[in-house]
């Protein structure tokens, strides 16, 4: 166990004290991050699904898929949250269902479709996602896959992604700075 020297308490800066704006959500920040950590553990994807679940696809294929989805995300100007959620959904599906390499890209765009519906104000349409795969998959295939993904995840999409934690870590890391780094705003 880690012992914390209580005499240092006064030196610990309350990073929420600066923001009293309800739009910053700092009023509930501590509880919010506790809830996020609990939810993260509950819905985390398995770390060894490539060995235990998948037979046809490899780590490299997943890498290629994610790289390509980054480009799709830029092409359709989607928020970075959408991308992070997409990857989380893909990993959670791959932890639970076997997929052949011909259908990995279908899973990828379908997860991105669901993530966009969840995160974006104006999500791209199904045909946009078909178009980006050069017509490899039909609308029907995407909608069937959407049904399967929602079924496998039982509609539990409210999972914390890296971005949620990153924002807080950056706030904590920069607490002693007077001006925050603009670069981090665009992560």
């Amino acid at each position: 166990s880690i012992k914390v020297d209580s005499s240092n308490d006064e030196e610990i800066l309350d990073i929420d004290s600066k923001h009293k704006d309800p739009q910053m959500c700092s009023l509930y920040a501590v509880e919010l991050y506790n809830n996020l950590r609990v939810t993260e553990l509950k819905w985390r994807s398995s770390s060894d699904y490539m060995q235990t679940v998948q037979q046809d696809i490899t780590q490299e294929m997943r890498g290629i898929l994610v790289d390509w989805l980054v480009e799709v995300c830029e092409e359709y100007r989607l928020a970075s949250e959408t991308l992070y959620l997409t990857v989380t959904l893909i990993d959670r599906c791959l932890s639970k269902m076997y997929i052949e390499k011909q259908r990995l890209q279908l899973l990828g765009i379908t997860c991105m479709l669901i993530a966009s519906k969840y995160e974006e104000i104006c999500a791209p349409r199904v045909e946009d996602f078909c178009f980006i795969t050069d017509g490899t998959y039909t609308r029907r295939e995407v909608l069937d896959m959407e049904y399967q993904v929602l079924e496998i995840l039982s509609f539990n999409l409210s999972v914390p992604t890296v971005k949620k934690f990153l924002r807080r870590f950056i706030l904590a890391a920069q607490s002693s700075y007077k001006v925050s780094f603009v670069e981090f705003e665009y992560l």
């Binding site: 309800p22 639970k96 959407e146």
Partner: protein, 316 residues
Amino acid sequence: MNIKVGVYSSGRSISDLRLRVSIHSSESSLMEKYKLIAKIKKGVFQGLCLLSSQTVTLKQLGFPDNEGVPGSLIKEITLLQAMRHANIIKLIDVVNHQEQSSIVLVYESMETNLTSFIRIYPKVMKIPRTIKELLRQILLAVSYYHSFDIVHGGIKPANTFIDPATNTLKITDFVWPRTLFNSNTEDPNEELGFCYKAPEILVEHKQFSTAIDVWSVGCIFAEMVTQKPLFSATSEFHQLAKIFSIVGTPSEETWPGFSRIYRYLHIYSHCKPKDLRKLVPGLEPAGIDLLHKLLYMDPKGRITARQALEHVYFQN
């Protein structure tokens, strides 16, 4: 169509799954599990769960086939599943009918909403203790989901349900505010929800935060006491004028920066705040003080649901 993908963990193939309609308990179909008792309104039914003998509310939501499950529906289901609270409606089951392009949501029974409750039990609502207890339950629910970074965005008496037997209150209809204003799916016959909207979301540059729910709670609080809406305007356009006429037109002192989010401020005549004791007669002084804090114009200065629960009004 031949689907090759299978569910690894259980060895079942997806095509098997598709025949089963339910997500949570896949053993039987909708009609084998629930018996419909009565139609409440279009697409909403009262039913009986044959397994638990519990009365349930079934809500069937259809959608056009070409875009799949709508985002608003995905959000509501996701949110309700993430939350478990005595004062938030429990989603018991989700039945996804792919062939019919519809989803049936099975909730625990909700028969009497706050609007009807006030109409049916006006005497019960006159008891200050009832009001205090119902308000406490609303605030418990609100502070709970605010701690998940969730904003309801549309709390109103019509989606606040009460079990008359136990006076247990439950909040329903979670839709994220950003979808709230884009959707055209709202039932026009629904109660005029704008009466409960906070001023900062009635302006041009809307400011979404947890504070918008706190405002709605304030409106409901006043309505429970007087049994009529506090800010009852005839249209969303007039809503802001109505709010100003009671709480006072904002100035740089009372709401710094308001003129930046709303450039038409100058067309409103200057109103001084009215005395809430006269508008909400019969409410004890501590209640009036809490109401003032819930209906504080500037969202930055508005009390939070958590703080409101610690207000002196609830002590004794």
